[in-house]
């Protein structure tokens, strides 16, 4: 037997940590630059404005609604794409990436066009129908914000859930079906619990993305104070009047809100899913 030699894992951690820290340092520097640029007074005065307060409320609400919707749609879609081979699968798989690719301006414009394109001879138009017959106007109102956020957030949620389901071994769903499950039960009772961390991650990413969303909202929902003003709009409005400090202060506020929400989600995730959802060292 060759004498036992101990190889160090330090190079591993150095290389991996070194590469990783590039990005972490970049972000810390970005935040530091922002903090250096603004002051606590800016922060407080921004917080005091009634527009900002109503904007915070609308933001948290709309982000939550669109993130929930995004996950609700993403989970079944990603599951179907991951588990079944059907004609048109590749097409759908490619289509769902399109909201990521479209420049924000065009995405907003497309939504606007979609809701206002007169169809046929009767000049039927989705928005007028919604406004006059259903009583639920979308364009330039809060539903437009949610829809704009949803479109992008959902694309990300689908990708996240797709990776999740791809990595979950379909074997336990199969075995569940031998025990009397329908496909639906195998999905809800076996696959979904295993995807717990993925769902949390998808929700997180959808929420964060919805929070940062700006271009499509500006075009599709407009920027009317107290009505379609979310925090990213507020930032832009402050920036437009030359109040950079305040714009940066509001962004930092967004970062704080996001951190609070993300930590809460993470806590919730660990609490609810516990160690069970992580593939354990000896689980089969």
């Amino acid at each position: 037997m060759t004498p036992i030699q101990r190889r160090s894992d330090v190079p591993f951690f150095l290389v991996m940590g070194g590469i990783s820290s590039c990005f972490v340092i970049l972000i810390v520097l970005l935040l530091a630059a922002d903090i250096a640029f603004t002051s606590f007074a800016d922060f407080r005065s921004a917080m005091a404005k009634p527009e900002i307060q109503s904007s915070i409320r609308l933001t948290v609400l709309s982000c939550s609604v669109s993130a929930i919707l995004a996950v609700l749609v993403a989970v079944p879609l990603a599951y179907l794409l991951s588990r079944f081979r059907f004609p048109g699968r590749v097409i759908i798989d490619t289509l769902v990436d399109i909201p990521l690719v479209l420049p924000p301006l065009v995405l907003g414009l497309s939504l606007l066009i979609l809701f206002h394109l007169p169809l046929g001879h009767s000049q039927w138009e989705l928005e007028s129908w919604l406004r006059e017959d259903v009583g639920f106007p979308v364009t330039y109102r809060w539903p437009a914000i949610v829809l704009a956020q949803f479109t992008v957030a959902c694309a990300f949620a689908i990708r996240t859930m797709g990776v999740t389901f791809d990595q979950i071994n379909p074997r336990s769903e199969d075995v569940a079906r031998t025990l009397g499950c329908t496909r639906m039960q195998a999905f809800t009772q076996v696959a979904l619990p295993q995807a717990g961390r993925g769902v949390v991650a998808a929700f997180t990413i959808a929420w964060a993305r919805a929070l940062g969303e700006f271009g499509p909202i500006l075009v599709f929902a407009g920027a009317t104070r107290m009505r379609t003003e979310v925090l990213s709009t507020s930032v832009w409005l402050e920036f437009s009047v030359g109040d950079l400090d305040s714009a940066v202060a509001i962004s930092l506020l967004m970062v704080l809100i996001a951190i609070a929400v993300l930590l809460a989600l993470r806590g919730l995730g660990t609490l609810r899913l516990g160690v069970a959802a992580s593939p354990g060292a000896r689980s089969r």
Binding site: A176, T178, A186, P193, L273, A276, S283, R284
Partner: protein, 212 residues
Amino acid sequence: MIRLSEITIEAGDFSLANLSLEIQPREYVVLMGKTGCGKTSLLEILCGLRKPTSGSVWIGGTDVTHYSPGDRQIGYVPQDLALFPTMSVAEHLEFAWKVRGASRKHITAQRERTAEMLAITHLLDRPVHGLSGGEAQRVALGRALALEPAVLLLDEPLSALDEQTRDEMLALLLSVKDATHVTTLHVTHHSGEAARLADRCLRIENGCLVEQ
């Protein structure tokens, strides 16, 4: 009760052609054979996880060849166990009844009964992560037994147990066989096991099913 007629299995280079098999209600059949001869594949065709290239599968007088596994009213203990990583042991034992929408009371009663039978009551609150090989195997067995299914398919269900526990489980399987109307197909490598349990013993040899 179980009837395979002219089943052909193909997977990669492996193939088994024209297998036919009939198992009477309440019969306990043990299936043996060299490693890689197709025992697991046969069970998976019975429970619907694998589609036969040709031939048909009958359970209880119904042609279930194209039925989904969930509709075949079987209990299956897979060789790789395939426990559900997010569930506790208790949830495993409750699973089959829960998906059938049984009453809470019934579910609890069945769970307790099964856990006691298999001597895993002390494990009920544990996640499957961290179970020892033998414990995991008994959980997989309990998950299938809890339902008292009409047909039981066991794929080396006792291979990870020490001799004493294996004897206890053998006795348990015998008592289940006597107490319920279950029809069982049991794959094993252990000739002692086969001798004690089998009403009839089959082997897969050179691609054919032969009686012993």
